[in-house]
Symmetry: C2
Subunit: 435 residues, 2 copies
């Protein structure tokens, strides 16, 4: 599937056609859990389908000598100790999906990590070489944030950014807590997996780009140097419940009209900055949501993202002023809370360089691509040296059943990740025994 | 409570203080079913609370000699046969409410009809006078339309405007059908109550105004000569599901952005016509409604009302053109279906005159007030001569827990209705034996 067996490159874990076929077969099996008719998956965090996918993957990993453990925040780890007492190279992503999501987003990265880790382990076992670091695979709990907010929950708890009890107490729209949902599918442990006797030294994650830069430019690999900054807001628009037929327009305090003006203002804010600002409102709930009742309240979730912190600050300020105008125009009150904020920040440069070297060695074309979306690696990079890799998404479509990545790109990614993990396990990012 | 006992007026059923107190006590009891902390009620159609209210009222009516029967569309009737084989004067309204609705809307009209009918029956029984018409009270099923659409369902089936099986097959957002919900609370019969051996000759309904004309002008009674016209639309906005973070703004087909522009356009359309057009969107649902997903679809319900058919037709045309512009601007497709339409039309003039005479006889100040909201009488007037009466609503607030009407106005209404029903039972609107 790649040219990595050509003699002019220094690679350690070449991928043969059989490896590639095995990966693609496993990917097809995994994609059957929660499959939708239109070719996507519906596998939100801690649902039965998420649990089924984990059970299947845990079985695969256990058969290959991994020790599978769930931590107290619902993350699933699979560990192989090659060198007793050494820290771990960790690799993974997330198996949960959006409602009617794509089958690649997250799940690809977990399976790629499992297959890559298995190749690294096989190499050490067959060669007798001593590894500087041990190796582990992870399915981070609730990366998507569609059922339980915030997104990237499991890695946020792992990296100390979110209190575990707060996370476990979070409820979905039915009032089910994270703790209850995880318990129901048997996917929660009683303690941290890493921490005392075991520690993580570095992290790698591979993901579909969810943008179309690689696809448009026909480049095989994206090396992620930094994230876009993001501001996420919880908004409540407060009006007054009234009869739609009889209440005079001048007397209305229509929360949905206020919300509609806010959604339009947020969308149109992006036009001021061309490609430098993405804005969205994807979630909006009306109370009481009756056809003949003027809404008393609307709750919504807004999302502003930019590669530039200054643009985001300016947009935040503009939004504040526009909301004040909307309050007057619609005769409502708008409450704006920052739910989740992160600044544009950087993955370790040595990680980008390592991945670039590996991609070059494998003959895979590559460029740097910023990530607009958040990933669990966004949390992990603040804890340990982290490598974030992208493979192309056709037309950049994501969070959709139409999400698609070519087989050859999936296999390129696994080979790249395996080789990168191998070099990380030799100490490439941690200054342990030289590579 | 009123001046009706003054000697210069010809009234037959004067209301004394004891009658008034009995009514207000019963109203307070009724308002305890589904009561909310803020003084409203939550008693949507065919819920347990609706069933409890009916059981209580059915008990009250049965004790007073009414025969209580549920028809095959979930309407509850209570009949008293004064003159065997004669047609009936029917009076009532609806006991169901909006979510967090007011305690007066509909329920007042049913209880007023029950007390008024009981007084008429007592008069005939004690005087020995022979009635031209029999008398019955009704709680029409699902007037509000918040749980099951369309609104005014029970009276629409009764008047042949809506197929019974279509009505019974309608589902709420949980997928429960009307038939299942009514069966669960034991509030559905097997056949029509009126039709073969019994028939309805005329109808009367009293309701709070749900507008502030009476309140502002300090007038005690509204005589309703006609309805506003209404167009109700079911709208679907079709976009494409995508990732909010990574999808470039130019590539989005954001159904919620399209919907927001539509909500704003609908609201602003009303400004062109000042008081002659009311527009609303009270119900809007986003799919998949995840904070990090661009919406693939939004469904909403729009509502345009006017006293003038021509304005409504013009507004419909303007909306069509604006939606075409929004489709281009937001890169979405908007599907617009007429869900329910009625033209401005008229209650029988002789009914208005009868009510005016009765109000004058009782010394109650009165003016004509069009109804902007739909009522079950809107359906009934197309079948039989129908009288529609309003009492004041403080500040015109309705479909809200803050809805309020003064005790004296409640009692005025009961007295007016009793006297009107009495004259109807003597043949005032049906040309039977002279009044």
């Amino acid at each position: 599937m790649t040219n990595s067996t050509q003699s002019d490159r220094t690679t350690f874990l070449p991928q043969n056609n059989e490896d590639a076929t095995r990966f693609l077969d496993a990917f097809a099996t995994m994609s059957s859990f929660g499959a939708t008719e239109a070719g996507g998956i519906e596998r939100q965090a801690a649902t039965e389908e998420h649990g089924q996918t984990r059970s299947w993957l845990a079985g695969w990993l256990t058969e290959r000598g991994f020790s599978v453990r769930r931590d107290h925040a619902g993350n699933m780890f699979a560990l192989v100790e090659l060198t007793p007492g050494a820290p771990y190279v960790l690799a993974g992503s997330h198996l949960d999906s959006q409602p009617r999501g794509g089958r690649f987003d997250g799940a690809y990265g977990v399976l790629a990590a499992a297959h890559a880790a298995e190749r690294v382990v096989s190499h050490y076992r067959s060669s007798g070489e001593k590894a500087a670091l041990n190796i582990a695979v992870v399915d981070w709990f609730n990366e998507e944030g569609s059922r339980f907010k915030p997104s990237m929950m499991g890695s946020a708890v792992f990296t100390g950014k979110l209190d575990r009890d707060v996370a476990l107490g979070t409820t979905d729209t039915e009032g089910t807590t994270v703790r209850e949902a995880l318990t129901a599918i048997g996917e929660i442990g009683t303690e941290a997996v890493f921490g005392d006797s075991e520690s993580v030294a570095c992290y790698a994650e591979i993901h579909i780009e969810q943008g179309k830069i690689l696809d448009k430019q026909s480049v095989e690999i994206g090396l992620v140097p930094s994230t876009w900054a993001a501001n996420k807001y919880e908004i409540s628009v407060h009006g007054a419940q009234a009869h739609t037929g009889s209440t005079e327009m001048a007397d209305r305090q229509d929360a949905l009209y206020g919300a509609a003006l806010a959604v339009a203002a947020v969308r149109e804010l992006a036009d001021r900055y061309e490609l430098k600002l993405h804005t969205s409102c994807g979630q909006l709930t009306v109370y009481p949501n009756s056809p003949v009742v003027v809404a008393r309240e609307v709750q919504m979730h807004l999302d502003l993202r930019s590669p530039d912190d200054a643009i985001l600050a300016e947009a935040d300020d503009l939004l504040r002023r526009q909301f004040a105008e909307i309050e007057v125009k619609a005769n409502v009150r708008i409450e704006k809370r920052h739910a989740h904020t992160w600044k544009a920040n950087y993955y370790q440069g040595e990680g980008v360089e390592l991945a670039r070297t590996v991609a070059d060695d494998l003959g895979l074309s590559n460029i740097e691509v910023q990530t607009r979306a958040g990933h669990d690696s966004t949390n992990m990079k603040d804890l340990v040296p982290t490598v974030m890799l992208f493979i192309p998404s056709v037309d950049g479509i994501s969070h959709s059943e139409l999400e698609f990545t070519e087989d050859k790109d999936l296999c390129n990614g696994v080979e790249l990740l395996a080789e990168t993990l191998f070099r990380m396990s030799r100490g490439a990012l941690t200054g342990s025994p030289a590579q």
